[in-house]
């Protein structure tokens, strides 16, 4: 029972939403693009969309800073 987040294997948590996953991974940067199995999750749906078991999640942090 695991998922891949940015190519790293992490435990899968039942009913975990994108928002929960970002919190668990401590990804606090606001400018991120999230894809589950290559499909973009709209930012407005982060609290609703659940992460399926065995999925590949990409949390793409945009480049930022001065």
């Amino acid at each position: 029972m695991s998922i891949e987040v940015n190519s790293k294997v992490v435990d899968w948590v039942e009913n975990e939403t994108v928002k929960d996953l970002l919190k668990r991974m401590r990804y606090t940067f606001p400018l991120v693009v999230v894809k589950i199995n290559d499909k973009v999750v709209p930012r407005k749906d982060f609290s609703e969309v659940k992460i399926p078991d065995n999925s590949k999640v990409a949390v793409i942090h945009m480049i930022s800073g001065g």
Binding site: I60, H61, I63, S64
Partner: protein, 774 residues
Amino acid sequence: MVEGQLSIEEYETGNTKHKWDYKKLKLAHRVVFEYNYKKGKVQAGYTNRTLYINLTTNEIKEKKVTEEMKEKFTGGRGFGLKLLWDSIKHTTRWNSDENELVITTGPLCGTTQYPGSGKSLCLTVSPSTDIICDSNVGGFFGPYLKFAGFDALEIQGKAKYDVVIVIDGEKGKVIIETAPLEETNTHHLNEQLTKMYASEDTDKSRQKVSVISSGKGAENSYWGCLNFSFYDIRRKVPRIKQAGRGGLGSVLRDKKIKAIVTKVEKVSGISNNPADPITLAKIGTKLHREVRDLDRYQCNMRAVGTAHLVEIMDEYDLLPTENYRFGNFPKASKIYSPEFYKHFTKIIPDGCWHGCTMACSKTVDGFTVMTGPYKGQKVTVDGPEYETVACGANMSIWDPLWILEFNFYCDTYGLDTISTGTAIAFYMEMYEYGILNKERCNNLELCFGNSEAVLELIHRIARGDDGEFINVASKGIRRVKNWLIKNGWGEPNIIEDCGMESKGLEYSEYVTKESLAMQGGYGLTLKGPQHDEAWLIFMDMVNNAIPTFKDKAEALHYFPMWRTWFGLNGLCKLPWNDIEPANNAETDDPTKVPEHVQNYVDYQKAMTGKKITKEDLILQSERCYNWQRAMNVWMGRGRRKDDWIPYRSMGPVTEMEYLSRKDRYDKYLAEKIGLFEKEIEKMNINEKMKLLYNFRQDQYQKLADAVYFRRGWTPNGVPTPQKMKQLGMNDHIMLKFLQDVIDKDDKAGLNVWGGKYRKGEEPPSIQPKYWEKW
């Protein structure tokens, strides 16, 4: 006025209001030499001429900008490189008479329709690095220089007495006059000169004046910055932005220039005279709306500026604390952006150039100075930006008010906050190890967290204190390293590994230990470790999007080309990718923000009227980037040995650092080096650290191999004549010089790849002299 907004009259901005004796100040001025010029018109972003001033020979002349110069060097930083190549020698150093201070604009600089279009690029031979340093800066000076009639200003020679250079775009006159009585430090000098040179005693008139200045700190250090003013009509104060890196302010004061003033007749939305104003307005409006509607949900720049990064960097273990030993700290929340938001003046817009909706130049008004010569005065503090706040973390000082004081004094003394903070953090670590002590530090107790000692050091630098430590410390980390080693104080390896400089320039404020690509983003650069070439930490360390050396090398080609392009055109980087369109996530490569890239193609096309593609923009940058590297080689640097970085930026130098992230490093030994868990358990910490040290040093050399190959350079980091020709840079003197260098390197056995390639690994090319096959 929007409902709920306060009128300006109700705001207490609390700025110092001095009553200077302007008559006396002005009477002391004496015109040294002057020059009348015919006022011109900007055409499609260019004035098509530059202004040359020689303070030794009292010469002023105009130089024509040819179509070939525009084609090869575009503008901005490119023009600066061209002017320097034509004027300096390979032996020129920062204080040589022939060294120049060049201020440039760029074809898009001065546009008011597109956010972030007011940047100037400043270049000189740096006291820190002995090569050309470029630094970009906001404020009104660049646009005003162009609207006064010039694409660039080139100053050579040295004046005998303190002078002010005035470029009067109203009258078409350049005047060099002595200015003996004005203050040197910026916050006073700007007040004096802005009022003195305004045509009328009105705020609108003062808004048409911009001043470049530095300060007493710049006179006595290698950290001198240039302050570019922009008169804030609402606050009624000249505010400032800094060209911080590389000691440009030290060069300004070495030339005995107290200030450079430019004034214009008027500024309008068509001052740049774009070829296609309708398209320009269209793309500008689209971005304005994007910033207005989305920034608050993304980076929140309009509220707290780049300081929003402090909490993010802390969370990702990237905020440098105690001289980059760690990337986060329990006390860090004391300096998160909300702590500064409390002090920022709200509601008043904070753009450093007209029409910038990003408006990230935050300000603390009515700050009461706590120490030094201005103790008790109420001043406006411009900032702090992320880097300045992070300097507090690096010195382990967690007090927002102290950071504001540090920010204020660095600015008014003309000191770069980054170099000052990074260097002092290193001195503090040396103090902790007993390599420095109170006696060696001229009675300063420079231990981590000693905020009083830091300010005292800065005040003593500005006063020109002749203590040996003060004198050496103000010249930066590289000189202090040499001084410590020469005196036999401490282990040379520890000193070299801990001092965060490369090429002689201090690092900016990011921890790079876990991002090899960002180590390259600091080390494999033209001017030194400043993050304005590439910021790849997230892409590399968090996204894992560039796992191979080839991937990293591609990123270290592509992203510096964009950053360079902004410098060629007079643009700010922030509207590129610190704001993203609502549908950016759905694009093929969101990190490149394709819609904004297309904006830049359309923008330059609309301004210049030339047919341009995305590839053309990259080509413009690649030409100048390679030219600058070639000039580094010409000046005796620009080789693999010069791209060396201290080990602190690659991994843990001390046991304490290793132990603080033991799990991470042990896991790394297993996953990357292939050790078994039992082997790791048997090793002592020194053995583990040594293994990690050797492995990571080799990784960096392999990265350099891949990057040099991608850039078309030799294995020793020299741009090849073949590459230069491909780019259309055919200057035969430069081409011959590069070939001679490559031949000499060949004889010395230096044209070989630097990485140690094991079985199953390959260098970027089996043939090291791969370019000869082109």
